[in-house]
C-alpha cells in the first residue's frame, strides 16, 4: 500500500492496532474525507516531498498524525500567516493550510483575509460544519440562524450576528485566483469536492495564486444526529445559506518569482555602502576651546527646517575626524511637522549620554525653539538664531553669546529656501570653529547626495552663513567699541 497517509499513525501514540490505523474523528465526521482527498491529490500531483501541511487548532489539530508530508502546527487562527512564512522560506514548497470554521472565520479572520488578498500561491482548505467541535458544540461564526448550540441554547439570534459566508467574502477580494464551496453529503458532491481540492492545489503548483476551498461538512456528534441525518441537515439546512459552486475562477499567468537568498560578500558590502577608503582628517586636535572632552550641540526648529540633516552631518564629521560622535533626534509625532530638534555630541573619548540637556551651542530656527532651549545653554555657550523670524532673545545664562543670522533671508536670496540649514551650518562653523572648514565642506559634499548645481548652492549657502556671522560679529565689536 502506498499512499500519502502514514502507514501507521505513530504520532497518535500507537505503534499498531486500531489506534495506529484509524483517525481520531467521530463516525460521520467530514474531516476524514477532506484529508483523504488531500492525500490523493498530493499523490496524483507528485508533490508529497514538497508539501507542507499546516494543522490548525480545532478537531483537525491532529492533521499531522495522518499526512506523510512536512507538518507544521499553528496557533488558533494563524495558519495562513504560518503558511505564508513557510511559502516564503521555500517558494518551491507546496503549502496547504487546513482550517475549521472557528479557526478561520472567527479568531483568524484578519489572517485569512490579508493572506487571501496577498495572493501568494498557497492553498486553504476550509472545513465549515457550522459548529465548534473540539471545545464541545459551541456557536461557530458559520452557525445557522436559530441553530441551537452550547452557547446559543435558544438558537442563534441577531445579537449573535448572521452566519459568515467565507467563500463569497474571499471571492470578493482581488488576491485569490480560485474559490469554490463544495460539500460531502452524496457521491456527486464528494466527487466535486475532490475535484475542487485537486484544482486548488494545482493552481499553487502552477504558481498562479491563492486558492480557497470551503467544504461544508458534517459534525453528527455536536449536531446530535446520526451521520445520515447530519448529511441530510447539511444538504437541506446549510446549502440554502451557503450555496455550493465556484465563486471565483481565474487562471492568471504564474507571477510568483521570488529571489534566492543571496550571500555574496561583494554584493553585501555594496548594498551597505561601505568603503575601505579612510576619510581624510583635517583637524589638529579636539576643539578644546569649546570643552575639554565633550561638546554638546542642540539644533532646534520646525519640521522641515533641516535641523536633523545638519545634526547627522555633524555626527558624520566628528567620526570622520576620529572623534566619537552621536546624534539623536526628537522622534515623536512632532518630528512629522511640529517642533523638531536634534542633539549632537562630539567627544574626545566616548560619548556617554546622547542627550544634550545643557548645550554648548544652540542653533534655533524659530522663536519657540529659542524660548525653550535658549535658557538651557550653559554659561559661556553660543546661540545662533534665525534673525529673519526671531526678533527677541530670552534671558540667557551668564556669558552666553547670542547671534542673530538671517538664515531664511540668506537662503531666499540664493533662491532655495530649504538651504537655510546649510546657512546655519556655515554660521555654526564660523562661530564655533568646531572643525576645520575643510572637514565641514567634505562632510557636506558627501552627506548631500546632490547634483552639481545643488552642491554649488550648498557651498554658497555655507559661505553666506559664515560671512553673515563674521559681519554680525564685526558689527558687535564696532558697537562695543563705540559704546565704550
Amino acid at each position: 500500500m502506498d499512499t500519502v497517509f502514514y502507514n501507521r499513525f505513530e504520532r497518535n501514540g500507537a505503534q499498531d492496532g486500531v489506534k495506529a490505523h484509524a483517525t481520531h474523528y467521530c463516525a460521520g465526521c467530514g474531516h476524514g474525507l477532506a484529508h483523504k482527498y488531500m492525500a490523493e491529490v498530493i499523490d496524483e500531483l507528485g508533490i508529497q516531498d514538497r508539501t507542507v501541511a499546516i494543522s490548525p487548532v480545532g478537531c483537525s489539530v491532529f492533521l499531522y498524525y495522518y499526512l506523510d508530508v512536512g507538518n507544521s502546527q499553528a496557533a488558533h487562527g494563524r495558519a495562513p500567516a504560518v503558511g505564508i512564512g513557510h511559502k516564503l522560506a521555500n517558494p518551491d514548497s507546496i503549502v496547504i493550510s487546513y482550517q475549521g470554521d472557528g479557526d478561520l472565520a472567527s479568531i483568524g479572520l484578519a489572517e485569512i483575509i490579508s493572506a487571501a488578498q496577498m495572493g501568494l500561491p498557497f492553498t486553504v482548505i476550509f472545513v465549515n460544519n457550522a459548529i465548534y467541535g473540539m471545545t464541545g458544540g459551541q456557536m461557530a461564526p458559520t452557525t445557522l440562524m436559530h441553530q441551537k448550540t452550547a452557547t446559543t441554547p435558544d438558537g442563534r439570534n441577531r445579537l449573535m450576528g448572521e452566519p459568515l459566508k467565507m467563500a463569497e467574502l474571499i471571492a470578493g477580494l482581488d488576491g485569490p485566483v480560485y474559490v469554490e464551496r463544495v460539500a460531502l453529503f452524496n457521491n456527486k458532491q464528494r466527487m466535486r469536492a475532490r475535484k475542487a481540492i485537486h484544482k486548488a492545489i494545482q493552481m499553487q503548483v502552477e504558481g498562479r495564486g491563492f486558492s480557497f476551498v470551503e467544504v461544508l461538512s458534517e459534525c453528527p456528534t455536536h449536531l446530535k444526529m446520526t451521520p445520515e441525518e447530519a448529511e441530510k441537515w447539511v444538504e437541506e439546512q446549510m446549502v440554502p445559506v451557503y450555496p455550493l459552486g465556484v465563486k471565483k475562477d481565474t487562471a492568471p499567468e504564474p507571477w510568483f518569482e521570488p529571489g534566492e537568498p543571496d550571500y555574496d560578500v561583494e554584493r553585501m558590502l555594496r548594498t551597505l555602502g561601505t568603503t575601505d577608503v579612510p576619510a581624510r582628517r583635517f583637524n589638529k586636535g579636539f576643539p578644546r576651546h569649546l570643552d575639554p572632552s565633550d561638546v554638546g550641540i542642540k539644533l532646534a526648529g520646525a519640521g522641515g527646517d533641516g535641523a536633523q540633516t545638519i545634526a547627522k552631518l555633524l555626527c558624520n564629521a566628528a567620526i570622520d575626524e576620529g572623534f566619537d560622535g552621536t546624534y539623536i533626534p526628537s522622534y515623536g509625532p512632532e518630528s512629522r511637522g511640529g517642533t523638531s530638534y536634534a542633539d549632537v555630541h562630539v567627544a574626545d573619548g566616548e560619548v556617554l549620554s546622547p542627550a544634550v540637556p545643557d548645550p554648548h551651542v544652540l542653533v534655533a530656527f524659530n522663536a519657540p525653539s529659542l524660548d525653550k532651549f535658549g535658557p538651557t545653554v550653559r554659561p559661556g555657550g553660543i546661540v545662533l538664531y534665525d534673525a529673519t523670524v526671531i526678533h527677541s532673545v530670552p534671558k540667557l545664562a551668564d556669558g552666553v553669546r547670542a547671534y542673530g543670522i538671517p538664515f531664511t533671508r540668506l537662503a531666499a536670496e540664493l533662491g532655495v529656501f530649504r538651504v537655510k540649514n546649510i546657512v546655519a551650518l556655515g554660521a555654526l562653523q564660523a562661530a564655533t570653529e568646531l572643525f576645520p572648514v575643510t572637514t565641514m565642506r567634505s562632510a557636506l559634499h558627501r552627506a548631500i547626495h546632490a547634483v552639481a548645481e545643488v552642491a554649488h548652492i550648498n557651498d554658497r549657502a555655507f559661505d553666506a552663513g559664515a560671512e553673515s556671522f563674521k559681519a554680525v560679529l564685526q558689527q558687535e565689536l564696532v558697537s562695543e567699541v563705540s559704546s565704550n
Binding site: M1, D2, T3, F5, N7, D16, V18, H21, A22, T23, C26, G28, C29, G32, L33, H35, S55, V61, Y64, V69, G70, N71, S72, Q73, A74, A75, R78, A81, V82, I84, G85, H86, K87, L88, A89, N90, S93, E111, N187, T226, E231, P258, P261, D262, Y263, T271, L272, T275, V277, A279, I319, G325, Y327, I328, Y331, L352, S353, P354, A355, P357
Partner: protein, 474 residues
C-alpha cells in the same frame, strides 16, 4: 475494448472491520445495495462495522471515496485477497513513513574585508547585523520608535534575494516568523512595546515548538498606549512573561549602535544554537541614536538545519509542533525545556563591569541609562568615591555569577533604570536564587520616557556616602 471487460477488472472493496466506524456513508454511496449496516459488534472497537456483499458489487468504487477513514474501505489488491487472514500491520508497510532521515546543511562563515566605520542609527545597525547574520526574511508591523529598522530592511532585502513582509498585525507577523523559522530560515522582526505584547502568543508557541527567531523590541513608555519616549518598560515581560506557559528566552540589552549590530548577530547564533527565540531590548533612545559602527570580520551564510520543515524530500519527516496532549509527554517536554534553560543560565550570562573590582557602590544599569551611569561613575571616581558600573548585557539569564564576585566589598547596589523597578526586581530575584544576601539597595528611577540623568545618579550616591560616613551604618 468493451465496457464490460473494463468493469470486470475494476477492483472490489475490502475492509478491516476494526477500522470501520460504521458511519454508513458507504451504505448510502452504493447504488447496488452491496453494503449494509452491520449488526455484529466488533470487540476491538465496540462498533458495528458495515457488511459487504461482493456478489452485489459492480466495482464502481464510489464507496472508496465515501469512506472517511484512510485505512477503511479500499480496493482489494487482488481477487483472492482475504482481509480475514491478512495482518494489517504487514499490509501497510513496515515503517510508518518512507521519509528519509533529514540531514542539516551547516552555516558557513564568510570573511569580510576591513571597512571604515559606518555611521548608523541604532535600529539600522541592528538591521545591518541581521543581514550579516544571514537573515533574509523579515516580517513586521510598523511601530514607533522601531520602524526605521524595518524600513531599512524593506529597502535592502529585495537586492539580497530576501523577503520583507509588512503583515496585517503583529499577531500575523509573529506567526509568519513561526512559519519561516520553522522552515529553518533566519527570521526577525522590529517592534516596540505594544506590538511586542501582541506577539507574545506566538512567542510562547515558538518556545514550545522550538522555533528560533530574533525579536528586536525598542521599548517605549507604558502602560497602554503610553508614549513613544524611551522606557525600559518591558523587562518584566521579556524576563518573566513571554506568553503563557513555562517560557524563557535569552534577552540581550545593547547600549550603543555598535552593540545593536553585534548583539543582533549574536542573537541569531544563539537562537539557532538553542532552537529558541532571542529577544533584544533597547530603549527608544537606542533605537534612535546615531553613532559609529564597525562591521565584524565575517558574515554568515546560514544552512538549513536538519529539524526544519523546509518543504523538500530531505525534511519531509519533520514536524513543528507545540501540542503535547498527554500529561506525561508535556511534563517531559517541560523537563527538557528546563534543562535547556539551565544550559542557557550556565553558558550565556553576559555583562560588562566598569571599575567594579574595588567598588563600594555598584551602579547596576542597562541600555541607555548605563551610559549616564558610566558618566556618573567617572565623576564620582574623580571625587574619590569608589563607584563602579555593572551592566547586564543579558537581562535573562541575569549575569549573577559576575555580579556575585563584586558583592563582598559592596556597601550597596544602586539600580538605575528608565522604569519603575523592573530591572531591580531581576537583580533581587537573581541574588535570591543565588542564595546571596543583598547589600543595601538603592535606586534611581525615572519613567514615562524620562531618562535618569548623570546628576541624579551622582546625587543619590553622594547622599548614600554621607549617610554612611555620618552614622557608620545605612
Amino acid at each position: 475494448m468493451s465496457e464490460t471487460v473494463t468493469r470486470a477488472e475494476r477492483p472490489k472493496p475490502f475492509l478491516f472491520p476494526q477500522f470501520c466506524k460504521a458511519c454508513g456513508r458507504c451504505v448510502e454511496a452504493c447504488s447496488h445495495g452491496a453494503i449494509t449496516m452491520g449488526t455484529e459488534i466488533d470487540p476491538r472497537t465496540g462498533l458495528t462495522p458495515v457488511v459487504i456483499d461482493l456478489e452485489k458489487c459492480n466495482g464502481c468504487g464510489l464507496c472508496f471515496e465515501a469512506c472517511p477513514e484512510p485505512f477503511g474501505l479500499m480496493p482489494k489488491p487482488d481477487k483472492d485477497f482475504d482481509p480475514g487472514v491478512v495482518d494489517p500491520e504487514t499490509l501497510f508497510g513496515a515503517k510508518a513513513s518512507t521519509a528519509q532521515m533529514p540531514v542539516g546543511t551547516p552555516d558557513v562563515e564568510l570573511p569580510l574585508p576591513h571597512t571604515e566605520p559606518m555611521v548608523l542609527k541604532g535600529t539600522h545597525a541592528s538591521a545591518v547585523g541581521a543581514l550579516l547574520a544571514g537573515c533574509r526574511h523579515f516580517f513586521g508591523y510598523p511601530i514607533t520608535p522601531s520602524t526605521e529598522g524595518a524600513e531599512l530592511l524593506a529597502k535592502l532585502l529585495p537586492g539580497l534575494g530576501g523577503t520583507f513582509v509588512q503583515a496585517v498585525s503583529e499577531v500575523a507577523a509573529v506567526n509568519m516568523m513561526y512559519g519561516a523559522g520553522g522552515a529553518g530560515r533566519r527570521t526577525m522582526t522590529f517592534t516596540s512595546s505594544p506590538g511586542f505584547s501582541l506577539m507574545l502568543e506566538g512567542i510562547s508557541y515558538m518556545i514550545g515548538a522550538e522555533v528560533p527567531a530574533v525579536f528586536v523590541n525598542i521599548m517605549r513608555g507604558g502602560p497602554g498606549l503610553g508614549n513613544i519616549a524611551p522606557e525600559q518598560a518591558d523587562i518584566k515581560l521579556v524576563c518573566r512573561g513571554l506568553g503563557h506557559g513555562n517560557t524563557h528566552a535569552i534577552v540581550l540589552a545593547p547600549a550603543s549602535p555598535q552593540e545593536m549590530l553585534d548583539l543582533t548577530m549574536l542573537a541569531f547564533d544563539l537562537a539557532f544554537r538553542y532552537r529558541n527565540p532571542v529577544v533584544i531590548v533597547g530603549d527608544g533612545y537606542l533605537g534612535q541614536i546615531t553613532g559609529k559602527v564597525q562591521l565584524p570580520d565575517a558574515m554568515v551564510k546560514p544552512g538549513i538545519p536538519e529539524w526544519a520543515v523546509f518543504g523538500d524530500a530531505n525534511h519531509r519527516g519533520n514536524l513543528i509542533n507545540s501540542i503535547r496532549l498527554s500529561e506525561a509527554e508535556l511534563e517531559m517536554h517541560n523537563v527538557f525545556l528546563n534543562e535547556k534553560y539551565d544550559r542557557m543560565r550556565e553558558a550565556e550570562q553576559r555583562s560588562d563591569a566598569f571599575l567594579c573590582d574595588d567598588a563600594e557602590w555598584i551602579v547596576i544599569a542597562a541600555n541607555t541609562p548605563a551610559r549616564m551611569a558610566k558618566g556618573a561613575v567617572e565623576d564620582l571616581r574623580r571625587q574619590g568615591i569608589k563607584a563602579g558600573l555593572f551592566r547586564p548585557v543579558t537581562l535573562w539569564p541575569f549575569p549573577i555569577d559576575a555580579l556575585a564576585s563584586f558583592v563582598p566589598h559592596a556597601k550597596g547596589f544602586v539600580v538605575v533604570e528608565a522604569g519603575s523597578g523592573q530591572l531591580e526586581d531581576e537583580v533581587r530575584l537573581a541574588m535570591s536564587h543565588a542564595g546571596l544576601a543583598l547589600p543595601h539597595m538603592a535606586h534611581v528611577r525615572r519613567s514615562g520616557g524620562v531618562l535618569p540623568s548623570k546628576k541624579e545618579i551622582i546625587d543619590r550616591i553622594l547622599e548614600l556616602e554621607e549617610v554612611t560616613h555620618g552614622h557608620g551604618v545605612l
